[in-house]
Symmetry: C2
Subunit: 218 residues, 2 copies
């Protein structure tokens, strides 16, 4: 199937890109600059991975939207909480309807590129904190995209039943160079090691038994 | 209800803005510059109408997306067919998944502005040619937006059972100044009078029995 892949430059979506490249025909990888603290580091990784595989790479500038969205993720590194995802204050990092916006734009571009599907690295460990990560949202959005396009585009979620540790193992088996992926919400040169995404990243490597190539600040 | 209004600057969405201003609390009007031939004229009207009503107006720059979308609407006035909507060649003017993209972005911004609903001027006369105008798409997208936001945002379609002529009559009753609305796909100073949207505009005034303030080229 011809597919467009949503690629943030993080561990999950990079593995999804390599998975799609192995099993499908990737017409393009799509990244979004929505003005997040970590955009520059993350997008550099996304571009590196797409170029490695010879996949057309498009970086979409959404900063005009972000000016009207409320989120700590768009407000500088100092606003990022260092607690676990479980804690209430993580809700501050939610970017309203982010997955909905990404999927809708991807649908338009995928349809323009004669694709039949969109690959997103949504997974079983995604947080109930984010309404646009939940299964019922994804099913409704998949229906809207299928009905709203001539091609009846599908949303492929190859990792929907996997944990992040399992995705790490799948990526390792696909030969993903994880040193060229970036997860930290703070966006500094090195991963901070303290924010919720850094904690998850470390735990995923540890529980998958895969060596972690990441250099953490602490 | 607090609502965000999708406002193109055309006849339908301008009437929707005035309707929402009468019946709800409009937290913002949202326009999108997606690089269409008629963006400058249309957006000037949108801004004029929002300022008239004292409604916060946000113009979102989506030209970074449009570079990756295929449509005659994004390719200069010469590419615009002059036939009726019924003809096959109008399919060239489809911007893939445009309503899906607009609604998704509006959902993120509406949620950030503590709105409870999004108003879109979709109407009964919208064309089956465009999959993202059809009722089944709208119902699925409404479900996705409700499920994907904390507020459970609703999509309000006050004109879904109306014809364009009826919307024109509703607008006239609301006191809309139609001279400050713009419909033509060609985007010149005056409405061309020949493209499908100009034809529809003329017919709507005529069948509603409302004086048409538009100056057409021919």
């Amino acid at each position: 199937m011809k597919v467009a892949v949503l690629l943030s430059g993080g561990l999950d979506s990079t593995t999804a890109l390599h998975w799609a490249h192995r099993h499908h025909e990737v017409v393009c990888a799509l990244s979004f600059d929505y003005g997040s603290n970590h955009a520059a580091r993350e997008l550099a990784c996304a571009r590196w991975q797409a170029e490695l595989l010879g996949v057309p790479y498009h970086e979409i500038d959404l900063r005009s939207i972000s000016a009207h969205l409320q989120s700590a993720l768009l407000s500088g590194a100092d606003a990022i909480p260092t607690a676990d995802y479980a804690e209430d204050n993580l809700r501050q990092t939610v970017v309203p309807f982010r997955n909905g916006i990404f999927l809708a734009i991807a649908a338009g571009i995928a349809e323009s590129n004669k694709a039949e599907g969109i690959v997103i690295a949504a997974h079983g460990g995604d947080h109930a904190l984010y309404p646009d990560c939940r299964e019922d949202f994804m099913a409704a959005m998949a229906s809207a995209i299928s009905l709203g396009t001539y091609a009846g585009l599908q949303i492929l979620r190859p990792f929907i039943t996997n944990t992040k540790a399992e995705i790490t193992a799948i990526g390792a088996a696909l030969g993903v160079d994880f040193a060229h992926t970036y997860s930290c919400y703070c966006g500094r040169e090195q991963h901070c090691g303290q924010c919720a995404t850094c904690r998850e990243r470390r735990e995923s490597f540890a529980s998958a038994g895969i060596p972690d190539p990441t250099e953490y600040e602490s």
